[in-house]
Subunit: 188 residues, 2 copies
């Protein structure tokens, strides 16, 4: 599973095998079962996760009890509660497994040490953070779009494997539309 992280880093910055062996010691491999939680609202969220196998979702439950999906993550995606991870405050969202999942996890302190010790990783995480910004900006603009059809098109573009792996119920929850509206869109 470390090969996936090595190749993922090499898409952004060169690292040789010896460097990567040292870099990989900052991460811990973890396995989770389908339906298991990695982050829970109100609890600490000390890890950022790099998905090596499986599928996760992050979601928030509003004061009326309705859940809204923030993002999905599968192989080569990073996921965490950014606010909680960076501030040490309790999580404001839940992250759970839609499939049996394997991740490489890193704590805030380990990430800071990794960046301090490896200049290439400071560069890598700056670039990944920018990519996260872009994805979140798209998510905000998607939520603001009036048309469900446009939101649907953007979601397919963001998650090419969506239909094969994510249920219609969850896709609808991510788009903030009913399953009936989703069926009309996906058949049109």
């Amino acid at each position: 599973m470390n090969e996936l992280l090595k190749n993922h880093i090499r898409k952004i910055t060169p690292v040789n095998d010896d460097e990567f062996d040292a870099i990989s010691t900052y991460f811990t491999a973890q396995r989770f079962k389908k339906h298991q939680f990695l982050v829970q609202t109100g609890k600490p969220a000390p890890y950022e996760f790099f998905v090596t196998k499986g599928l996760l979702k992050s979601e928030v439950t509003d004061s009326s009890g309705k859940t809204h999906i923030l993002q999905f993550a599968y192989e080569e995606w990073w996921i965490s509660d950014m606010q909680a991870f960076n501030s040490g405050e309790p999580a404001s969202l839940d992250i759970d497994c839609l499939e049996n999942t394997e991740v490489l996890s890193i704590t805030y302190d380990a990430k800071e040490r990794l960046c301090a010790n490896f200049r290439c990783m400071e560069y890598f995480f700056r670039k990944k953070s920018n990519a996260g910004n872009i994805a979140l900006q798209k998510r905000v603009l998607m939520l603001m779009q009036a048309s469900a059809a446009e939101r649907y098109e953007q979601l397919i573009h963001q998650y090419p494997q969506m239909h094969a792996r994510i249920s219609k119920k969850l896709i609808a929850a991510c788009l903030g539309i009913t399953r009936e509206t989703l069926s009309r869109l996906s058949n049109s």
Copy 2:
């Protein structure tokens, strides 16, 4: 106005005066009048802006012609179309001035050279990008909240100077509520 940037950087990482003098050469000071646009939908967005004086908003217009405010920015905030700035693609939002505004602008290439030449700036921009991620995650969660009252509370927390500088009409547009609903919330 460079003093503001120097102190802003020093909140995150130490830089001495000589280093800062070199760092500041990567930025260009620009002035804009109230109502002037810094970024326009469909056009290139080659700059990231650090606000030294004034007030800006970024907004998107949906396919039905309705505008939605993504963010406000005043002194010591950074603003750009992240997607367009980082990819070189055309902007998908507008950024314009709500007051006469002064900024320090930096191009994508200058930012990359700055980070390559000054390790402290690579660290600085990684941290700022994380902060941007947190702000955008909050914005997404805010948009997903069912209750207008909760969205209003979060917005006040994010922009303490909001009521003094931003019109009720724009605050309502940012929250996605009517001015009447906003009046009820701000009087309660």
